[in-house]
Symmetry: C3
């Protein structure tokens, strides 16, 4: 039995990075729903359709674009951007019911967000922001890893950074991360969890020492902001011990890094792990960019390997099992509660929601 967290419908999810969506159809499965993504030939806006031809259910993402039509690669059924079938082979008449679902889709902060649920409920204003991903003065390295694990395990992982000390020792972890207590704030209504950890006098992990040039001990702050269900922001600041921001807000000795994750459930036991590291320092230094890209990819893959293993491990449990939670899990447990509520709300019939 695979370990599975239920999916929260009637929510926005990141389906792709902006640069991934173009004139080649891209197939992605969100919350068990197969999507094909592409960019409109005329206005360049992203399109998201159900990825199954009405004829024999061949994936449209295997097809080709012909102007503003997407053409099935099996028998040539063609659809416009609303999902209406506009051509079938061998006859002039296109059946009236030939139509695939189209999904609300929006590009923001270099991310392509898709609404999974009742389209009438989609409100673009509720999409959380990650401006640093697409703002002047910021440089970002990014990637996406498909993980063969329940998305809940990735939420657990990211909400409890004490694992940096053990799983990512030598990269971003140092003893102080696990040792330093956290403070957790939860806004249940907003679906927001904040976890903060202030290390006043800590070892500088190689991830930061090699990129910033800081050699001595540092003050290090981690502020997590998890906007359930999909967007995770980690606001990081390091500086030499004792160097605080100026009263006017400027921070000449500090290095601020924004780590972004989008956690998008794919199928049961599979999740897309979108990750990005943004900085507004050393922005012209390609070596720093390359180091952060390689280094963070390594860290992400350590998580991917661990989560894949954990998923297999939980799936092989023969009987019910227990967990034992402690202080570090406060944020993760809050996230689980919020997700459970979002799942429940997302499963309500539409008339109760509107």
């Amino acid at each position: 039995m695979p370990h599975v967290t239920a999916f929260a419908r009637n929510q926005w999810y990141v389906a792709a990075y902006r640069h991934e969506v173009g004139r080649e159809p891209l197939g992605r499965t969100l919350l068990g729903e197969p999507l094909v993504l592409y960019r409109d030939a005329e206005d360049g806006s992203p399109v998201a359709l159900h990825d199954r031809c009405v004829h024999r259910r061949y994936p449209l993402s295997q097809g080709v674009l012909d102007g503003n039509r997407i053409v099935c690669g099996y028998h040539g059924f063609a659809y416009d951007r609303t999902g209406t079938c506009v051509y079938v082979p061998g006859q002039k008449r296109v059946p009236r019911t030939a139509r695939v679902a189209s999904y609300p889709v929006l590009e923001q902060d270099s991310l392509v967000w898709v609404w999974i649920g009742d389209p009438a409920l989609a409100d673009p204003r509720t999409i959380p922001r990650a401006r640093h991903l697409d703002a002047p003065g910021w440089v970002t390295v990014r990637g996406m890893e498909p993980v063969d694990a329940d998305y809940g395990l990735l939420v657990d992982n990211l909400l409890d950074l004490s694992h940096e000390t053990y799983l990512h020792g030598g990269y971003i972890g140092t003893p102080e991360v696990a040792e330093t207590p956290i403070t957790t704030e939860v806004d249940e209504d907003a679906g927001l969890v904040r976890v903060s950890r202030h290390m006043d006098d800590a070892e500088c992990p190689s991830f930061y020492s090699r990129s910033t040039g800081l050699t001595g001990r540092i003050t290090r702050r981690q502020h997590i902001e998890y906007h359930a269900p999909c967007l995770y922001l980690l606001h990081s600041r390091i500086a030499p011990v004792g160097a605080e921001p100026e009263p006017d807000g400027s921070d000449p000795h500090g290095f601020r890094t924004e780590i972004t994750y989008a956690i998008t459930p794919s199928t049961d036991g599979a999740v897309y792990d979108f990750w990005a590291v943004s900085r507004n320092w050393a922005t012209n230094d390609p070596e720093v960019t390359e180091f952060l890209r390689t280094s963070n990819h390594t860290v992400v893959m350590q998580d991917v390997d661990a989560l894949n293993l954990l998923q297999r491990t939980l799936g092989s449990e023969r009987t019910g099992y227990q967990e034992l939670s402690i202080g570090i899990d406060t944020g993760g447990l809050a996230a689980r509660r919020i997700l459970a509520r979002l799942v429940e709300e997302g499963d309500k019939p539409a008339e109760q929601v509107r």
Copy 2:
């Protein structure tokens, strides 16, 4: 849940090509029944036995032939061509009940046909012919691909050639195939479906232009004859536009090609795809032979990849799904009806059938 079409028992199926059956045991699974095939040491006729030793169910196809005995590779139980066990290790007495099933088997037109069902009902006269596979004046290229897909999907595929335009574009497909309406004839009692498509003025696909040397536009005819459940014949004729056969039946300007498929269900969601291309022109040209072999193999693999994908796709559907059929599907739908009837008849107790 894998997408599965039920199997039609009490039918002849192609288990192998003649050249595949020799003095090395060959294991094949037909309709879920494991068979071992080999050739008799004395008269060279093919033998088909149940591929499980009575002792511990080790596959006999892993064993060796010793004269007219097939010897299990695990503990040496040996069987004659009737399936009777004639030797066991460590003792003289062979248990009377030690016997594996033998299957009616017949070689015809270079194909090895096996009857799956009640042996008493097997009538060799009902095996459909494909004389071109083994007739003087014809040259054939052939192969077999195991497909991880329901055999019903392969039947669908072959009965609707409009997919040539899309899946096999650049090989055997041109726009005219999808555009030209078909005519379909069904003989329900005979279990026969005929689908015809006449293209009077069509582009010549590279499959034919490079093999025949025709450079201009052509008249192209496709006549499908599907003898359910196993044998599919595609009679193809191309010629320069306007060049029809002579009143006496001769056809100096036409190129006739016989495309043969045997569609043999293996296990649930797996099918053997036997394919052959036969011609009675350029029979002495090895380059044409090699081109047709390579080219048709490519086309077959395009189908294999598509069907494997479709099988996985249908298997991942979370709820019931719908198809939408149009004119091009007339033949395929007729084939499904006939198969459903054959399945029903094949499941009847024998006394009702005889």
Copy 3:
């Protein structure tokens, strides 16, 4: 449906060779129970703990040893050798219930035995001996292969050596093995099966001719001693035809070889196949050692391939199936009976057992 023999609990099983257990955590799954094995930092004795951290069930075998603590590789929970958690991250207080199961473990004859079941019932005196594995004057080659097959199939395999003639022909099998009748003795209470085969005038298989230098025909004796459920001993003696041991017990012309197997069920349909070949002749000849190692590994892999195939074969049976047993199966059937009894006894509540 995988072919599965139930597991017999409240028994000792070989979890590893002595040399496999050290200061790197070793993960093994016995009877479906995940274990982590390592060696104590102080007294060097082996430790066996449940291989799941209490926190989020990450395998402890992925962690590291820190002195006498095993530290989880995910969030750093640390355990002492009794399984008591002695450290958690971010807080001083360790929850009282934080504890993983520890298993009775004992090293004997170079094998690491673990008791699976109620620890209170573990009696080290019931562990069967295999002194030749660790005795002066004996040289042993050994290995372990994980097999994707039910452990019952490996028991079947080893109790009936007539398969040597067919599956291992050219290595250790000759026609005489299958031809020679066996004698079987069963001590149901002791859980012991003995199978003997005396070949008075037999071909010398290459396994023995190349290692001993014997060139002519031999007298060959195989005495199996199966101590259910785990330990299998095969006492082998070969000598030139007619050369018997002296009245005083000395055996100047004979070559005695001890073949040991430990059959340790892992998960359903998976078994650890520990194998060893021990000799007290040519003990200083490294070529003989290397030949026996390579040669026996080949033989073991022939079994592994056959058992993996048999497991897949039995798992694909669509309906109930039958076996047909003959004289050679007497020992194997006795072993199955004993195992069934041990399973039943092992499943009894502890109070009925003590």
